[in-house]
Amino acid sequence: MTPKAALLTVAAPEVYYGDDRTADRDRTGASRYELLRHGRISPLAGMSEYALAAVFTALVTAISVALEPFTGYESIALLYLLLVVALGLRMRRGVVLTVAAASALLWNFVFIPPRLTFYIAKVEDGMMFAMFFIVAVAMGHLTTRLRRSELAERRRERRTAALYELAHQAAFASDLDTGLRAAVSLVESIFATPVALHLRGQDHALSPAPHAASTLALSAAELDDAARVFAGASASENVRRGEAQILHVPLQGRAAGMGVLSIRTERPLDASEKELLEAFAVLIGLTLEKDHVMEAFKRAEILEASARLSRTLLESVSHELKTPLAALQTGVDALAQQTANDERAAATIREMQWALRRQHRVINNLLDMNRLESGVVHPKLDWCDMGELAESAVELAGDALAGHSIAVEVGTDMPMVKADPSLLERCLSNLLLNAAANSPPGSTITVRARMDDGALRLSVLDSGPGISPEDLPRIFEPFYRGAKSRPGGTGLGLSIVDGFVRAHGGGVAARNRAEGGAEFVMRIPVEILQPQVLERLG
């Protein structure tokens, strides 16, 4: 390779962005990127520009010595000037100005008579030397400036092209992973360094597992740094850990941090490199956020469609189950009308009616359980008066409570609360049915409502044998039936209570009372309306 070719390779690498920087600083950085880029070292790449410039200057001087007998010493100045301009287009200012000064002196020393002295005999030679000196320095200065602005222009162009390429890949990648892989390989090729990509996880914290496109594995300590940058989500941060210097750049979306891009650097990046990397990070962050929003949108759409489907399905199942039941019920009731005077028939029909009611309850429970499991239960909040609610729950439980006396304890200072009255009524009535089934006939079941630290505390107390310890933790599980439970239940009543209360953002718990019997407590956070406020109204 000729020295000239080597110079060009070094001074104008096609991809490396910091080429003007390499021209302004020592060459070691450039040679490293060369090595990474091409996998080989050009023979002169390590040589400094000064040495190269000296070689060229010597070459021009040698040619001039050969030409001087034919051209005269005056024209030699033009050759030197040509050298200064040529180097000015390729080399740093310091080198070029040095060459300009050196060529003036060389011209003087070697060619202006008397030769091989710095002494100038003629006035016109002195003037020519002075003018040459000024012109050479000015030319050097101007050409390096020209080159610098050209380089800046090229850098801007490449930067735009790189950003465009990234944006294009991000926007048109068939999926996010492909896009991220492309982005990582772009960053990798531009900065010639391995890249680690950590994204925001489901829990909105930085995922410790790197994205599959990553080519750099962070140590635990480095991961902590990345997590800190992610938490701060503002500035990038350079952290030295042992040998390696890692630069962590947050991938910032519009609303939230989406991850951290980390690269290994052996020296700090300069402002323009950092700026480019951060521009990349913004693009990747926005792409991630867009994808995230799209995902959420799709998920919501799917959820809504599935909720709609469940509702339709439930409606038709409900229709199919209840229509024959309605026919049976009406038929049995018609029979009852027709056989009112036949005691034996009436007894049979009573049993059938009882079985039908039970069947109806089971179907309702199964449908409610299904509604809860398909997530289509949304409380419709309205003001509820607890006394009223307890009354209607007792009403709803119906004949099953006939053998018990029900005590409703609602304080006069109990405010109205905002809840779904029909769901709450169902909960309370299920708890009443459960209490009636598990306490001796004739005993009292108490419904108690009060406020407890901003939450409605609605409890049902019985004076039965209580809940056995092995049943206690599982009592709200669907279809769970206690070992000593009576036949006839579905094991769904309590899990429906649990589901409806949860739908209100509350919880239900069961415990055995010290004075005997079981207590079920629903605790639901509610908005309240003080009765005094209303007393004043019309």
Partner: protein, 231 residues
């Protein structure tokens, strides 16, 4: 009811129609039944029934549409029969002009009581001066209320509330309807007023310790002044 009343049933289930016919005829109704909404509508126009039993899930016209069209020209009492048991479904039907709503499966005795109640409106609109339900008596001319023969003092609002419920005795009256009648059209969303006054009213007119309550809450829908089954 001296004459034999006519009940018109619109239900797409054949079984349900024939069983309803048996139950209703047993209770001395003349029964007409149709399986489609369109046919039912035109028959209501020509046959002038005393009461309509309307199923919501019809194959041709949705039951609610039938109700809406019917209410454009007729005040015939309508009882909705439906398997849909959500409060929203009931309120929608009641707001569209249904007189009451009963969910399938229902007990025949309950159905017959509701049917009698929805037909009562015709009677109570003739400016009845007195109202009696169980132990409760109301004298609409003197604005006095008695419980077991003893007069109880009601505030103007409590009286207005009780009057609306008594005028629709046996039928469910929606929250919206009560609020509009008692507090005016701007109060339709102020359900908390209603809760407070109903609580006060209950304390004054319910017989203490009575198993059967006069004022029944229909959760998420409204209130019903219950008429004792056998008067």
């Amino acid at each position: 009811m001296t004459e034999q009343p006519t009940a018109l049933v619109i239900d797409d289930e054949r079984q349900m129609r024939s069983l309803l016919r048996i139950v209703l005829e047993e209770d001395h109704y003349r029964v007409l039944d149709y399986e489609s909404g369109r046919q039912g509508l035109s028959e209501i126009a020509s046959r002038r029934p005393d009461v309509v039993l309307l199923d919501l899930g019809l194959p041709d016209l949705d039951g609610l549409t039938v109700l809406k069209r019917l209410r454009e020209w007729s005040h015939v009492p309508v009882l909705i029969l439906s398997v849909r048991d959500g409060p929203e479904d009931k309120v929608t039907a009641l707001d569209l002009g249904a007189d009451d709503y009963i969910t399938k499966p229902f007990e025949a005795a309950e159905l017959l009581a509701r049917l009698r109640a929805v037909q009562r409106r015709v009677v109570s609109e003739k400016d009845e001066a007195f109202f009696q339900a169980g132990h409760l008596g109301i004298d609409f001319t003197a604005h006095t209320v008695t419980v077991k023969g003893k007069e109880v003092k009601l505030t103007a609002t409590e009286y207005a509330l009780l009057k609306v419920l008594a005028q629709h005795a046996g039928k469910v009256v929606t929250h919206k309807h009560l609020l509009r009648e008692v507090w005016g059209p701007n109060a339709e969303e102020q359900s908390q007023y209603l809760r407070v006054y109903m609580t006060h009213l209950r304390k004054k007119i319910e017989a203490p310790g009575a198993k059967e309550k006069l004022l029944r809450t229909e959760s998420g829908i409204g209130y019903r002044l219950v008429l004792p089954l056998k008067e």
